[in-house]
């Protein structure tokens, strides 16, 4: 019996020595997005046959997956019909938290609660004659081309009044 155990141990020891260890531990000093690089093994509990148990067993806690609610969900909740795929709306938060976004969205954060954040009116006027218009929150027309408006509207997405201008020239300047 001891010989068998010794042989088993030897086989695994040789195997490890020859090939190295498969597991690569995340190095916290690296800035690389390890969540994108994670190489998962075969999923024993696929969601097709195991439902929510799929995520229970197969989703690493250090990777944030988008929440998927199937049509046959236990909770009975439904999702609104949406056009899948990348668009300007998802582009606006795709890189949240990365360098650059903080500066661009400074002071606003990722408030998705639907509350309209009241920001102070622009302090830099394009022309002295337009002072009264630029102080109106529901500003329209060419006044929105100002950099201040672009920033303000990026966090007030639920305001229908601004929907036409929310994505216009937003961000990437």
């Amino acid at each position: 019996m001891k010989n068998i155990i010794g042989l088993l141990a030897l086989i695994f020891l040789v195997n490890l020595t020859m090939t190295g260890c498969y597991t690569i531990i995340w190095d916290p000093t690296e800035e690389a997005s390890y969540s994108n690089d994670y190489d998962s093994n075969d999923e024993f509990y696929g969601e097709v046959y195991f439902g929510n148990y799929g995520g229970f067993y197969e989703s690493p806690w250090w990777i944030s997956y988008p929440v998927f609610i199937g049509s046959g969900s236990v909770s009975g909740t439904t999702t609104k019909d949406r056009t899948n795929g990348r668009n300007d709306e998802t582009n606006s938060f795709r890189n949240d938290g990365g360098r650059g976004n903080n500066e661009r969205n400074s002071g606003l954060g990722n408030n998705n609660s639907g509350d309209i954040i009241n920001t102070p009116p622009p302090t830099r006027n394009v022309t002295p004659e337009n002072t009264s218009e630029t102080q109106t929150p529901s500003s329209t027309g060419t006044r929105n081309s100002s950099s201040d408006n672009g920033t303000r509207n990026s966090s007030s997405g639920n305001s229908n009044d601004n929907s036409s201008v929310r994505n216009s020239g937003n961000g990437r300047r």
């Binding site: 695994f12 490890l16 531990i25 093994n41």
Partner: protein, 473 residues
Amino acid sequence: MKMHILKIFSAIILFSSFISAQNYNDAIRLGLPGLGSNARALGMGNAFNALSDDASAAFFNPAGFGLLKRIEFSGGLSFTNFDNTTTFFGNQTKDNTTNTSLNRVSFALPLPTYQGSLVFALSYYNTKDFTSVVKFNGFNPSNTSKIQSLLDTDIPYDLYLTDNNYNTIINGNLNQSGDILNSGGIDHWTLSGAIEVQKNLFIGGNLTIISGNFESVNDYYEDDTKNIYQGETAAGEPQTTDFRTFYFNNTLKWDIGGWNAKLGFLYQFEDLARFGVTVQFPKTFTINEEFLVSGSSEFGTGQIYKLDSDYYSDKVAYNSKTPFEITGAFAVNSKGIILSAEATLIDYSQLKFSKPDGLTSAYISEKNKEIKDVLTATFNFNLGAEYTIPTIGLRIRGGFITQPSPFKEDASDFNHKYLTGGLGFIANGTVGIDLAYAYGWWKDISDNYGSNVSRTFQDIKVHTVMLTTTYRF
């Protein structure tokens, strides 16, 4: 005079050693596998070695920790109802005892990786429940009795059941009754780790500190229900006429410590199957034993004599070592149905006592030889199945466990067999709730003294309910 006192003193020590010393029953008590502490596993007949994808991997297969991808905190309770119907000289007696206990608290932490898996875990779990009971009552028409079996000790003499030459008029034909109530359990405190060494190949191990206790309270009575013994049991002592009752109690208390280690391997073949192998290294138990004796005799004259408990009670210590346990297992997965099976080799003849304190080495050697003579190697088998209904997150399970008797001569009726079933439910994708029920049945025998002269034939049925909750975040 000094020599005489020395002889008596030696005899008392020798007697104390003999009536309190361990035998193969004590070794088996520690060597038999328990039912574990995971409701999902129990529902599948504990055929969980190849799955082991939760914190109960510490008990089944530590390599299974490598399958965890989320931080897990889990715990559970178990309830045991032990029914024993005893047939003793044609008379049936039923008794039962119950126990409820916290059977597990576990924490598992998978470290973030780019690929593969590295997981560490801490667990407390209860692996064995010693709860059991035997109750018997019947008239033994033979010419044997416990009183006679103790004639090589001072007990009958001290209770005025013999004359000064240790001769007694008692010659069997007594009503014998009593009960044995056992309780206690073994707890494990385990540090585990597992790593994915090749894609889908996991190795894990753990180190365990053992603690636990065991208590056995044995009450035994012999009554002259047919008024056979009307004369003096101690010649020249008229108060000993009309013998009525002999009562003998012995209580065994164990304080259990120890350690053990386990090594496990697990391979997942795509999403179709898993294979597991574990090597449970011998468990070393350190037993600090306290043996308490009391007794009395009663006579028709109203006279009652009692034993001096301190005189016969004692404390000893020794080690007990269990054999290697080798387990091979597989589980297959098809369209939401998981079928699993495993076999475990345990060679009970390798159970061993060592390091006696208060017992002689010669006595230990003799008992180790007895173990080799009466015990044998066995294969335990576990089978299980689980079906998940994905739309409602419900799991239905069933299983079967068979643990053959470690005694060479035992028939298959003495094998421990369990039918199990269970349900599982997941809430919010993070909280798992599992419930299991196991029905166990087997036969057993025990001798009040000697061999097959005062034997109880036991028909045992055990009902176990286990609840486990798991939170993954």
